[in-house]
């Protein structure tokens, strides 16, 4: 359960953040870039309890999303968005898009523009340039950001607890159940070890491209 959510979140966040970082790095004029970047990550600094609560507000049955869709005539009655896996994933993606945008942006601006120019001069299309030149060169940054996303996402208790409802539990939620209701420390510790093992596996899988020292 945890793993499924985490992998979805990581993939969706990377796919959404890459174009955003790209636009900020190559379309936004140089002197505005720092400001745009600062604005992009400002909500990143909301406390995660508050941020999850804010999403609950947005996704509630009477919330702004449902009311807007009904107002536009796209829905006839409110749909349940809060307390679902969708809500958990949305809350996570929101946070990690901000994180990944910064990491990927940092990589994109380090690239010398001559690589792009050279590829273009040699007749590559914009897509080919991206696929064969830019993407491989920024891969370490992407993988580092994705690894960070994975680690933070799989270990988080607050977001799934507030947004996900109690239909399905993630590993951190299971740990907290052991601690709270049953005071079963050994089982909680065992689950924590499982979490750390998963993180270690993720580390080994991505170690080739990881540049943790470059964060």
């Amino acid at each position: 359960m945890s793993l499924e959510i985490t992998l979805t979140v990581t993939a969706v966040s990377v796919v959404l953040a890459y174009p955003l970082a790209w636009i900020i790095a190559f379309r936004v004029p140089q002197r505005w870039q720092r400001l745009v970047l600062l604005l992009t990550i400002l909500p990143f600094w909301t406390s995660y309890v508050v941020r999850s609560y804010a999403w609950l507000l947005v996704l509630a049955r009477e919330g702004i999303v449902n009311q807007t869709l009904i107002g536009m005539g796209l829905l006839s009655e409110p749909v349940t968005l809060a307390n679902t896996r969708f809500a958990t994933v949305t809350g996570f993606v929101h946070f990690f898009v901000m994180l990944l945008t910064v990491t990927i942006y940092a990589n994109l601006v380090q690239l010398s523009p001559s690589y792009r120019r050279a590829a273009m001069d040699l007749g590559a299309s914009a897509f080919q340039t991206f696929r064969h030149v830019i993407l491989p060169l920024t891969l370490p940054g992407v993988v580092t950001g994705a690894f960070l996303t994975f680690v933070l996402c799989i270990g988080d208790y607050v977001t799934p607890q507030i947004l996900g409802g109690n239909n399905e539990l993630t590993v951190p939620q299971l740990i907290m159940v052991q601690l709270g209701r049953r005071a079963d420390f050994p089982l909680a510790a065992a689950l924590a070890i499982v979490l750390m093992a998963i993180v270690t596996l993720a580390y080994l899988a991505s170690a080739r491209w990881l540049r943790l020292d470059r964060l």
Binding site: L20, V28, V151, G155
Partner: protein, 256 residues
Amino acid sequence: MRFLPWLYLAAAFVFIYLPVGTLVLFSFQDGSLPVPPFDGPSLRWYGEVLADDDMTDALINSILVALGASTVAVTLGFLAAYGLARHVLPGAALLRGLLIAPLTVSYLIVGLGLLIVLTRAGLGLSIWTVATGHVVINLPLAFAIIYASMGVQQESAERAARDLGANEAQVVLLITVPMLMPAIAAAFFLSMTFSWDEFIIAFLLTRFDVTLPVEIWSMLRSGLSPRLNAIGSLVFLVSVTVVLILELLVFRKRRT
């Protein structure tokens, strides 16, 4: 096609600011439910939150923990960075790794580990144990930031000071610390925001003197309320202020 990037940027900003915007807007709600339609603006809920003793106690606890934990974490982080950067120690690479490794351990696991240790040791939970937990999570970060900015320039200035007869304490306090001030300030403010926003460790390691995120958490059980919006907006405002100070003081200076 040309405006497609700008459309994407605009859509991204809507997505990024949707929750915070909603939170802040409905904190000014006059009614008792923070959902559309919006009526107001009214400061009623801010007044109620600031008059709430539980809330102000939690606020004071949060500030104390953030200040105390950040001071200790930055001090220890600085000393570790100084020691490892300036002296040849056996197993220095291993020590560096050990200091940074906790960054990849989830806060929940750090909190759980500390809870087990404290229970075994028979120590009661209090604001002190929360602060200890926050030192544990902020120390690796403080160390990494300060260590990364220790360079050759400070080293030659330190050597010059020593040649001129300064003792070790004078060298550290009068040369190294001032020269590293941007990094030390960055580490301090970052620790502050992490400690200020941190929930799970504070939740596990305290009973009665809770911090603000824990107080908000217990309010959440009673469902959506404009009071939560008001206190959430205030918490956000504080974090943003600290981040902006950091941006203006530290990063601006570094660029010029």
